[in-house]
Each structure stands twice: as C-alpha cells, then as structure tokens.
C-alpha cells in the first residue's frame, strides 16, 4: 500500500492547520492557513484533473465540429479535429486553451445567428461550460 497524492496532501494540510498554525499569529498564521488550503486543493484536484481536461476537450471539439458544419467554416472544423495524445496536464491545458479560444469565436457567432439549429448549438455550448464548471468545483469554495 502506497501513500497517494490526495492522501499525503490532505494529511500535510491537516498537520499544518493543527500543529503549525496554532503556534503562529497575524500575517504568518494567515499565510500558513492559506498554504494549507492550497495543498488541500492540489490533493482534491490531482486524481481527476487529467480526466476532466480530456472530457472537456472532447466536448469542446464536438461543439466546434458542429459549428464548422453549420457555418461551413473550415477553421472551426480544423479546430475541432484531433485528439489528446499527450496526457500531461500541461499539454492537456494548452490544448484546452486552444479549444476555448475557438469556442469563444463560435459562441459569439452563434448568439447572433437565427434559427432552431443555432439555439440548439448555443444551448449545447452552455451545457458544456456548465459541465466544466461543475467538474472544476473547489470543495471549499463559497459558491
């Protein structure tokens, strides 16, 4: 049995809060408290981060391909092609950024486009963005 990253991070954050923080006051206490929160966030996001990015990227590509067909836009179609080969978080994030940039252009275009197909695609874009926000929810967030 090996210690997992979420377990180690969670335990480290707990010890910072219970063993170090009570020894401090003022600004240093505040900094250590926030440091413990950051470590908690790393632990919570570690296991799912790659899976979430892969799912997001797949959803965004599908939307861009639909947009490319709807508007006959080769650039959108090109943006929606491909797959995630490199599964490092940095590579997935770079791909996610490229897809989000293209999605912004599609979203702006679709808002000004009439018709049921346009509304359906717009709804699908909002649904994908909602799924992204829900998947990225921080456990300790106020909202």
């Amino acid at each position: 049995m090996k210690p997992t990253v979420p377990h180690v991070a969670g335990e480290l954050a707990r010890r910072l809060r219970t063993e170090i923080l009570p020894e401090l006051t003022g600004f240093p206490a505040n900094a250590v408290g926030m440091g413990a929160e950051l470590i908690d966030m790393i632990g919570q996001q570690w296991d799912s981060a790659a899976a979430n990015l892969v799912a997001e990227n797949r959803a965004f590509r599908e939307l861009l391909l639909r947009g490319g067909v709807m508007f006959g836009d080769a650039a959108l179609t090109a943006a929606g092609q491909g797959a995630d080969e490199d599964l490092r978080i940095s590579a997935l994030t770079a791909g996610n950024d490229r897809l989000r940039a293209a999605l912004i252009l599609l979203h702006a275009t679709i808002e000004d486009s009439p018709g049921d197909d346009a509304r359906a695609l717009e709804d699908a874009i909002w649904a994908a963005l909602r799924d992204s926000v829900c998947a990225r929810q921080i456990a300790s967030a106020n909202f």
Binding site: G26, N30, D97, R100, L129, R130
Partner: protein, 342 residues
Amino acid sequence: MKEITPQLLEGYLADHMADMRDPQVTNLSRLPMGASRETFRFDLNYTDTAGTAQALKVILRRDPPASNVDSDRAHEFAAYQAIYGHGIPVPRMLLLESDPAPFGGAISLAEDLRGFHNSEYQLQEPEWADRRDYVAQQLWSTMGRLAAVPADDLDLSFTRPATRENTARQELEYWVAFLDRHDVGPEPITRAAIRKLQRWQPVAQKLALVHGDFRAGNFLYDDAGTLQAVLDWEMAHCGDPLEDLAWSMTRTFSFGKDDKRSGLARREDAIRIWEEVSGLTADPAALEWWELFNCVKAQAIWNACSHVWMAGTAANEVIHAYAAWWLHNSQDKAMLELMGKL
C-alpha cells in the same frame, strides 16, 4: 522589499512631522489584510510642541511593486479624506508619503481603531448567529447612507470623472481593459458575460462615491456587531451606487456557503435595507447588470492575482495563488447563474 523597522519609521517621522518630537515606535507588526497592499500596525509615542506626551495607535499601508489592483496610496488616501465627516465612519488619515524611496513604496498612515473585529468568517461562527441580522442591517444601511451622500458635497477630483449616463460603460471598459492586461487564457464564460454587458448599460439614478469593495471583511465591527469603520477604499470612484450593492451580493462573497450574501442576509433583504436607507430604488434590470459586471471585475482581479504570483516579485504572497485558484471557478459559476445558465 525594504524592511519597515521602528528605527526607519522613527527617523522618517522625526524628519517630516514638525510637531512630533522624539517619536518612539513599538509593537510594529504586519497584519493579514488583503491581497493588494501590505498593512502594518504600530504604537507611536512622541512629545508635541507644547511638551505634552502623546500616544497614537497607527496603521501603515504600503504599495507593493506589483498589485492585483490599479490603485495607489494617493488614491485611497484621497478617498478616505473625501468621505471623512460625511456620516460614514472611517479612520482619520494622518500622513501620505507618495515617494517610494523612504519605505520602498508609497505609504499612508491612519489612526488604528483597535479592539474591533473585521473577519467575515468570524461572523459565520455559531456564537455570532444571534447578531448576524444586526450586522446585515449595519452593513447595508451604511452602504445606503453612502449612496445617499450627494456627490457634489464631496471632493471627488481624485477619481475618473463620470456621468449618470456613462458610468456603467466606463466601468465596463476599464475592467475589461484590466482583464485583458491580465490574461490567464481564453475564458468563454467571462467573454459571454462581457458581450451581454456590452449590449445594454443602465443609467444611474444618481452619482455617488462608490466604495468599490464594500462587503463583509472590509469593515470593523464591535462585540455587539455595530459597524465602527469602513475600510479599504482603494477602488473608490464616482459612479452608480448600485455598483456597491451588487458587489456586496457577489456569490463568491457568500461566506456562509449558502444563499446569504456577504454571509449575512438573503439577496432580497439586503436590497430592502439598502433601498430604505438610501431612498433609492434598486431597479432589477440595472442591479442584475451591475451584479454581472462585478463578476467580470472580480474575475479580472483574481486573474491579476495570478499575474502577481507568476511575476515572482517581492510582492508575491501566498494569498495571490490562493485567490487565483480558489475564486476563479466560483466566479465563472456565479456568471452562469446570473445569465440563467447554471
């Protein structure tokens, strides 16, 4: 960053305060307040020109080399001076040093109102439950009184000029430009919110001094929950008083992790208190515009925290990484809710 020491302060005060002889600085410590400025407190003892011993408790704020907001000591100092004596409790300003040379950054000194609380999270503790409604009344009635102060009665020469007709567009343009300068990658939700805000802007009922960061956590309160002073005026400007009301209701400031805004009151109760005291009406469409606008403004500030952290300067603090990580997704979620897409 240059270290602020008692000796540095004593030397500066002896040289620059003609009525202050033999200044003695003790109990100097840094306070855990905010991501945009460094805040210190100290005790100051000196002899005045009449030979009388004097004692002051002092707050020192210093501009860092890089900040998550575009403001400076002179701006906040002028904002405090503008509102002082107009029915909104604020600390008395003592000194402004705009030259960064003496302390490694511009500083301001103000009276330190001690013995009070400012924690937004303390108000969520069970022992404060019986006073939360009262604190809510204090928060939004003070905000209402600020909204009611005639802008013409105040010296607002320190802030960008505004009209009732242009303040919404002006603020939007300002914060979109700030967001663009602190790019953290493409943000489809924020960009959709900006497009929505650009389609229509409300006309303000009146112009007022807008605090710009008026929420739980930015005022002092006593053990009974009575508001003693409103702090952190660095984003103050002339504008639509609905902006402050909307900011205080931003979801990321739901410190109780429930429907209560600023962790204190339901949205409709906050609006009711503010309307009763300000004598103004919170037009629903205008308020919703300002709520969505404030999400864009907040996201711009969180993104600026990312930039300060990544810049790796001496101004880089843990709070910058914390704000960037902890708040960004929540702000996206708040925008989805306000646009009816959550």
